[in-house]
Amino acid sequence: MEPVIQTTQLTKTYGTLTALNKLNLTVTRGSVHGFLGPNGAGKSTAIKILVGLLKPSEGTAQVLGQLVGLDLPQTRLSVGYMPELPRFPRHLKGVELLDIYGRLYGLSSQGRKEQIPKLFELVGLQGREGDLIGKYSKGMQQRLGIAQALLGDPELVILDEPSAGLDPVGMVEVRELVKAITQKGVTVFVSSHLLFEVEQMCNEVTIINRGVAVASDSVQNVAHMVSKPAVLIVEVSNLSDAVAEVLRQLPFVQEVTREKSVLTVRLQTSDDVRSQVSQEISRLGGVIVSMRLEGQTLEDAFLQLVSQPRRDKA
C-alpha cells in the first residue's frame, strides 16, 4: 500500500544547526502514527516541511504520493493540519473562520452549510459558532483548530502537539476527538512529547531525537526494542516454593526472587512471555492476583533511545 507520508533523507539546516538529519519516515494509510521526541528533536520542523511552511535543505518529502514544497497547494487539498498552539484571527467569528477556510478548500456553499455545523458539534463548540474567536478559551481554540483541520474531509490529518497548553480535562477531550477522527479511517499523524498520549492514541510510532529517527514501528514493537531486560511482578495467592523453582528453569528467565506473596521475575527476552509464566504458576496451584510487566513500555524505550549518543557522533 502506498504510504501516506514518506520522507527520504530529509534534512533541514539553519546555518550550522542541523534540525533534521536525513530523516526517513513512512506513515501507512489508515494508521494513527505518533511522532515522538523530546523538545527540540525536530518534530515541528519535519511537520512544517510536510505542510509547506519550510523548504528542506536536502532530501524529499511526499504526502499522499505528491512531492511537497513551499507553494504547492494541490498537495494540501486532502490534508488537514493543526499547528501547535494554533492562532486564528481573533476578530473573526468561529463560523466565519470555518466558512473562509472551507472556501479555500473549495467546498461549495452547500458543502459548507452541511459540514461546518457537524464539525462544531464534533468538537463540542455548538452554540459558540457566532462568538468571536478572541472570546474563545485556549481549549476552545484548540478544538477549533481540530475542526478546521477536518474541513474538506481530508485523507490525512496532521496534528502538531494537539494537547499543548491544555489542562488535563482538555487533554482527555483532545484524545477522544482524535479517536473519533480515526474511526472514519482517516490517517492521523500526531506529534507529541507526551508518551502516555501516544500510547493511548497511536498504533504506530516514530521516535525522533536530534533530527534523526531512532525508531519507527508499531507501538508494541518499539516498546520491545528496549534492550533492558523486562521484569515481571506477579502477586500470587497460595504461593509455594516450587513455583519460584520451576520459573527459574524457564529458558527466558534470568532470576526469580520472592518476597511474601510477590514474585519478581527478571526476564532475558524482549518477547511478551506473560502467558507462559501464568500457565506455569496456575499448573502448580498458584492463583495470580496481579501481574505487571515493567521495563518494556514505550516510556522505557523512549528514554533509552533518546539518551543514546547520536549516531553521527558515535
Binding site: 539553519y14 520542523t45 512544517k48 505542510v51 509547506g52 511552511l53 519550510l54 523548504k55 513551499l70 507553494d71 497547494p73 494541490q74 494540501r76 487539498l77 490534508v79 493540519y81 499547528p83 498552539l85 494554533p86 492562532r87 486564528f88 484571527p89 476578530h91 473573526l92 466565519e96 473562509i100 477556510y101 472556501r103 479555500l104 478548500y105 473549495g106 467546498l107 461549495s108 458543502g111 452541511e114 459540514q115 457537524k118 464539525l119 464534533l122 483548530g145 478546521q148 477536518l150 474538506g152 474531509d153 473519533a180 477522527i181 474511526q183 472514519k184
Partner: protein
Amino acid sequence: MTHQLSSSERRRSLDWKTRLWAVIKYELLWSIRKKKLAGLLLVAVAFALAGLIFPGLLSPLSDINANANVRPDFALGLSVGKLGFFFFALIVAMNIFSGEFESGTIVPLITKPVSRTTVFLGKLFAALLTVLVVYGVFFACGTVGGIIAYGPQNNLQLVPVAFLGDVLTTFFWVALVMAFGSLSRSTILTVLAAFSLFIAFSVGLPLAVPSGIQTAPELNFLPGNGATGTTYVNITFTSYNPKTNQTMNMTAEWAKSMPTGTDYITVNLINFFLHPVGNVSFINVTDSHVDTMPGQVKHNDVLYTEPNGLIPLRAIAVDVIYTAVILAVAWYAFKRVQVSE
C-alpha cells in the same frame, strides 16, 4: 462524522476565484472589525472638511495653487496631497503581511490548499478596495460639501480625474509598504522603512539637489518628486485705479510652477484637462530668476519643453512600472518565505 466530498466537489476545489474571494473577504473583515476602515474614513472626511473650511490649507501639500475665493477650477483643491497619499497607504498596507506573521495567523492560512499568489492577490485587491472606498468618501464629501458651501461649481468632470490620479499615486506607496511588510514581516520595521523613504523622496531629495538640478529630466523617471517645470496660463483679473476710480478687466500670462513626478499625477492630469494644448517648460532657474511675474521668466534658459499631455502620461507610466516592479518583489518575497516560528 464529516461531509464526504464528491469528486465533482473536489474538481470545483481547484477554482481559484472562490479562493481569491475568500482571501479578500478575510482581509476586508480584518479591516472592518479592527476598525481600520472606520478610522480611515474618519480621516478622509476630516481631510475633505479641512479642504472646504480652509481651502488653502491642503493645497500647499500638493503644490496646487487653489484660489480659495474664486475656485475657478473646483477640483484643484480636491486631492489628499503628498502627506495624504503616504498616510492612507501606510495605514492600509502596513500590517497586511507583518500582522499575519506577528500574530501567527499566517500559518493556518497558507497551509490551506491555496497558492500564495492567490493569498497575495487577495490581500492586494482588498487593499485596492479599501483605498477606493476611502477616496470615494473623500471625493464625495469634498464635492458635495463644496457645492453646499460654495454653490454650483465648474469643471466637475475633473473630480473623477483627480480620483484616478490620487488612487494611482497612493498605490505606489501601498506597493512599497506591502513590499517592506513582505520582506521584513515586522510592522515596526515596515513603518520605519516606509517613513524613511517617504522623507527621503519628499524632503531629502529636494533639499539635497541644487535648484538647477530639479529640472533634470532624469527626475521624471524616479518615483515621488519629478522635475519642476513652469507653465504659462492666461489669467483674467480686475484692476482698480483709485485715481480714476475705474475698474478694468485685464488678461495676462502667468507663469506657474508645475511639479511633476508620480506624487503629482493628479495635478498634472488636471493641468492637462484644463489646458490640453499648453506646455510645461523646464527652466534653468537661478536665485536671480525666482520671480515668476509675467514677462520676466521668459528670459531664463529653457532647457526643454514638454506638452501638458505628455507629463501625466509619463508619470502614470513611471508610477505603474514602479508599482508593478515593487509588487513583484513583494510577491516573490511572500512566495519564498519560510515560516519557522
